[in-house]
């Protein structure tokens, strides 16, 4: 039961993390209409993936692994670009967002990027969904203790959904504009995970064949087959024994992005400081 639980958890978390973050963002902006569309998109992605999984099984075809890895790489890169845009946009408008929440910039963020966020959630589920669907179908034809295998996988995915829900609730509670730095740093880490993940799937897609030497052996911490490893790999995108390409991708994104977030903005704002702050609903 544990082996299939671990895989279900890891694959599920990789998707529910993004969905939870997107849902929290949309909720914070008061875009409940967009939130509803996001859930529809997520449901559609799940249906598509299950359909493909069952269809492949019925046709007795195997999943075209390389093409699937290509799709996962492209989707990961698109999600990475979207999150980077979110971080940059937040940074540029953080001051404005803090001072007046009804500001045009805040409204523009809500209107303009809602569809982009919905797309990101849809693609995140699609990305992990194919692999997970095929894996689920395989558990149904398990050679030993089928009930335990299926049950484990289902509980793993359910646990991932719970984690996504917790991220959503937590993200909604926190005033994203006030705690801009913390929020942005979390996004930086998630995006770094996507970068490492994209490097990994790019190799499996046959696109990236350099830098595949073992960079470090983290299997003491990220012990393959354990729940801890599933969470670390699912959330941070780090493999148990990452190769150089993955490590360079992670560090190469996180370091500049974190610096960008933490770098103090040098614009002198003495006039604003002497003016009493606008009274607005907190």
């Amino acid at each position: 039961m544990l082996p299939t639980f671990v895989i279900g958890l890891r694959e599920g978390v990789e998707a529910s993390l993004i969905v939870g973050i997107v849902a929290a963002f949309l909720r914070q902006e008061g875009r409940t209409d967009a939130l509803r569309r996001m859930w529809l998109g997520v449901a559609a992605a799940i249906v598509v993936c299950l359909g493909v999984g069952v269809g492949l099984e019925l046709l007795n075809e195997s999943l075209p692994q390389r093409q699937q890895e290509m799709l996962e790489t492209v989707v990961a890169v698109v999600a990475l670009a979207m999150i980077t845009y979110m971080i940059v946009f937040m940074r540029r408008h953080a001051r404005t967002m803090r001072r007046d929440l009804q500001d045009k910039a805040g409204a523009a963020l809500a209107a303009g990027s809602a569809t982009a966020l919905i797309l990101m959630a849809f693609l995140a589920v699609l990305r992990e969904g194919f692999e997970t669907a095929v894996f689920l179908v395989a558990t149904f034809s398990a050679s030993t203790s089928r009930a335990a295998a299926v049950g484990g996988a289902a509980i793993g995915i359910a646990a991932a959904v719970v984690i996504g829900a917790a991220i959503y609730r937590g993200g909604v509670r926190i005033n994203l504009a006030r705690f801009f730095t913390a929020t942005a740093l979390v996004l930086v880490v998630v995006a770094g995970g996507l970068a490492a993940f994209a490097a990994h799937t790019a190799h499996e897609a046959g696109w990236l064949n350099v830098g595949q030497g073992r960079a470090l052996d983290a299997s003491a911490v990220i012990d393959p087959g354990t729940v801890r490893a599933a969470l670390i790999t699912g959330v941070l995108g780090i493999q148990p024994k990452p190769v150089w390409a993955e490590l360079v991708a992670w560090v190469g994104y996180v370091v500049p992005a974190a610096l960008l977030v933490l770098w103090p903005r040098r614009r002198p704002d003495s006039a604003a400081r002497t003016t009493p702050p606008l009274v607005h609903a907190a």
Partner: protein, 140 residues
């Protein structure tokens, strides 16, 4: 195809353009995937059905048997995980390039992999095992 509304603000137009591009991209991706599903994998990797079946077992050591020899042509690998906790994948490598792979084979599950192999020296790779890598020699 959705049309971008008359831009009230340059950044709105930019965002709308980005949105349309993203939508177009996903449509293209979907089409590409469907096409790939139906089509033949041109470089002679995974997808070729038939051929003799080789039994592979995933253990804590890695892929068993550690050394394989076979003739060039279509092969079917039947991979079974009989209880290895950290080993759930089977890959065939040619240098750094992945020729074929199967993922998600948890303990108690089994999967098949159809590959067409040309003559050469390959490596079988099961990440997470003690030994991890084995040899696969394909003769013409």
């Amino acid at each position: 195809m959705t049309r971008c509304p008359h831009p009230a603000h340059p950044s709105t137009a930019r965002r709308c353009a980005a949105r349309s591009a993203a939508l177009a991209l996903s449509v293209v991706l979907g089409a590409a995937l469907l096409a790939a599903c139906g089509g033949d994998d041109g470089d002679g990797g995974a997808g070729a059905a038939g051929g003799p079946t080789t039994e592979i077992t995933l253990t804590d050591e890695g892929c068993e048997p550690a050394a394989l020899q076979m003739n060039a042509g279509a092969h079917t690998f039947h991979i079974t995980n009989e209880g290895a906790a950290g080993v759930t994948e089977f890959e065939i490598l040619s240098g750094e390039r992945i020729v074929a792979e199967v993922e998600g084979i948890a303990a108690g599950l089994d999967r098949t992999l159809d590959v067409r192999l040309d003559a050469g020296d390959y490596v079988t790779y099961c990440p997470g095992g003690e030994r991890e890598k084995g040899t696969l020699t394909v003769t013409a």
